[in-house]
């Protein structure tokens, strides 16, 4: 459990969270902003103390044996690029290697390998401040892998990156975990596709609570009893609250596009007749139905079925999470 003090009332960032991750597993923690994903990673990486409860990483207690934990972990956070702008990429990596006690010769070899594997040899001698976001994040990944950690914490590692760079980095991590080093990875993300692609198991977290935990396939299997339909309507301002009040609705999400002035509704219904009801109510609101289709369940649908709303409708994170 982790509670943050706030001026009005305490904020429960994590509420009775209990998970266990197997060695060699890529474990995903999926949830919207403010769900508690980063708070959990900070506790496990010894940056934050839990308010109550215990956590063990690699068999070591994170509160009582933090130094032993630190010897076997590494943390890579997205949206941040720790390092010194005035030093080159290589120099930064050398510096961080020394914090893990690597000898200079071992560090040199490891740095060369990582720079090649992560494909930024061209920029190895460029000052970090001059690198683009994508290359800074590659550098961040390299830094995280320098010490050959047994357990790698990835906190939204592809945040703000372009599609190609994200794909490359995801592929690299899976390779690293599964084929090369057989390491354990705890990945937090709010990108469904990322969790689906990379993880052996996913825990869905919302408002500090774990709602479900299983492999992506099994989580989606559980939704087969529902029908997932998509409908695109010609307005961003329409009110869809009526859907909540209807029977036979497991959940829905609405993605509004101001650019095209359309909204993509995704609804989980117990049968197709319920869906036809929704269409008729939308038409009564004088909304133009642009398209309808049946969809395969995704992890977001799993989330919607558990919470009743999509990621976009989820509340903002507490300030300290």
């Amino acid at each position: 459990m982790r509670t943050f003090k706030a001026p009005n009332k305490p904020v429960k960032a994590l509420d009775h969270v209990s998970i266990s991750i197997e060695e060699g597993e890529i474990f995903g923690l999926l949830g919207p902003n403010g769900a508690g994903k980063t708070t959990l990673i900070k506790i496990l990486s010894t940056l934050l103390l839990p308010t109550s409860g215990e956590a063990y990483v690699g068999g070591f207690n994170v509160v009582k044996e933090p130094n032993k934990v630190r010897k076997i972990i590494s943390l890579v956070s997205g949206g941040e690029t720790p390092g010194y702008g005035i030093l080159s990429a290589k120099e930064n990596l050398w510096f961080f290697s020394q914090l893990y006690g690597l000898s200079s010769s071992a560090a040199k070899e490891e740095i060369k390998r990582l720079i090649t594997d992560l494909d930024f040899e061209e920029y190895a001698n460029t000052r970090m401040s001059k690198l683009s976001t994508g290359y800074k994040q590659r550098l961040n990944f390299a830094r995280g892998l320098l010490s050959n950690p047994k357990i790698l914490f990835l906190d939204e590692p592809t945040l703000g990156l372009d599609v190609l760079t994200s794909k490359k980095l995801r592929g690299y991590i899976v390779d690293w975990a599964k084929r090369e080093k057989k390491g354990t990875v705890l990945l937090t993300t709010h990108y469904m596709g990322e969790a689906d692609e990379m993880c052996d198991r996913v825990a869905i977290i919302d408002r500090g609570r774990i709602l479900a935990c299983d492999s992506p396939l099994m989580l989606k299997e559980k939704l087969k009893e529902n029908v997932i339909m998509r409908v695109e309507v010609s307005s961003v301002q329409a009110d869809f609250d009526f859907i909540d009040k209807m029977e036979g609705i497991a959940g829905y999400s609405a993605t509004r596009s101001i650019q095209s002035d359309t909204t993509m509704l995704k609804v989980m219904v117990s049968n197709e007749a319920t869906f036809l009801d929704i269409i008729s109510k939308l038409e009564k609101q004088k909304l133009k139905i642009l398209s309808t289709s049946k969809a395969e369940p995704t992890l977001e649908d799993v989330y919607i079925s558990l919470v009743g709303r999509g990621f976009e409708e989820s509340a903002e994170a507490p300030a300290n999470a």
């Binding site: 010194y84 702008g85 005035i86 000052r127 401040s129 001059k130």
Partner: protein, 282 residues
């Protein structure tokens, strides 16, 4: 006109809020008193001890130093506000591009922030003078030959006005430089105030400087600014007041022209090279 006035007013309000918003009000109050007062105390004790070992205490020279050091607060505060403004708004708060794109031009915004610097300097000056008199005159028994109720306000206010316009113009030069490069932003205030402090006749008469130093002194607006203020505060007659006002006016015009030119060049370069929202290198 309304847009300009509104921009200036908002900038003054913003400057005031930013200076006090995150810091404890107590720290704000201390910041505008303790630092300048400490500076005054250092110079004051240097003066007292130097006099004791040297030619003996001279109340007139003490007043010279006391007034010069106190009013120098305007230079420090305006330079600091204006030179850090670009860094703060561009790299730290990331609002500079939005200010630039807003209807009120960023020139008026910067002016508003500078006027907030003037406000803060005025508060700081009053506090420093008050505590300075308390410490030197009442606690240490040093006679400061200033008749506070006999100050000649017209030349004082005139000199303050012209001098402040000058310093704001210099501040625009610093803004311009910081727009074009972030490499010197943390040093500019110290450079400018260091040079003005050394050559501007702030704590010692410029005649003590070597001849080349005196030449520099005669070209600086601060020299005339402080000279007129001293005459006004000490309510002394002098035939050179008109000449000093004239030179202050001339140097003010020169700094305004230079400030406008540098700032305009900076604005052009910023648009050409994409510097308005450039991320800084750390």
């Amino acid at each position: 006109m309304n847009t300009i006035l509104r921009t200036v007013k908002q900038a003054i309000w913003l400057g005031w809020k930013v200076e006090t918003n995150w810091a404890d009000p107590l720290i704000f109050a201390i910041y505008y008193l303790i630092r300048p007062l400490s500076g005054l105390l250092i110079v004051g004790f240097v003066f007292l001890i130097g006099s004791a070992f040297g030619a003996g205490f001279s109340p007139e020279y003490f007043a010279y130093m006391f007034i010069g050091n106190s009013f120098f607060i305007y230079v420090v505060q305006i330079m600091m506000t204006m030179s850090m403004l670009i860094h703060d708004d561009r790299a730290h708060y990331e609002v500079l591009k939005h200010i630039y794109l807003s209807p009120g031009s960023w020139t008026w915004y910067i002016l508003g922030r500078a006027l907030n610097g003037v406000m803060n300097a005025s508060i700081s000056l009053l506090l420093t003078l008050g505590f300075g008199v308390l410490i030197f005159q009442h606690a240490l028994g040093i006679q400061i030959p200033i008749n506070w109720v006999g100050i000649n306000f017209p030349p004082l206010l005139l000199s303050l006005t012209l001098g402040i316009v000058c310093f704001i113009a210099i501040g625009f030069i610093l803004c311009g430089i910081n727009i074009m490069t972030s490499k010197v932003q943390f040093m500019l205030t110290d450079y400018v105030s260091g040079i003005l402090y050394l050559f501007g006749g702030v704590i010692f008469v410029p005649q003590v400087l070597p001849s080349w130093g005196q030449t520099i002194s005669n070209a600086l607006p601060i020299t005339y600014f402080l000279r007129i203020i001293r005459l006004a505060v000490l309510n002394m007659e002098s035939s050179s007041v008109e000449a000093d006002l004239f030179y202050l006016f001339i140097t003010m015009i020169a700094t305004i022209i230079l400030g406008v030119v540098v700032f305009k060049i900076a604005e052009y370069k910023a648009r050409r090279d994409g510097l308005i929202d450039k991320k800084e290198e750390y």
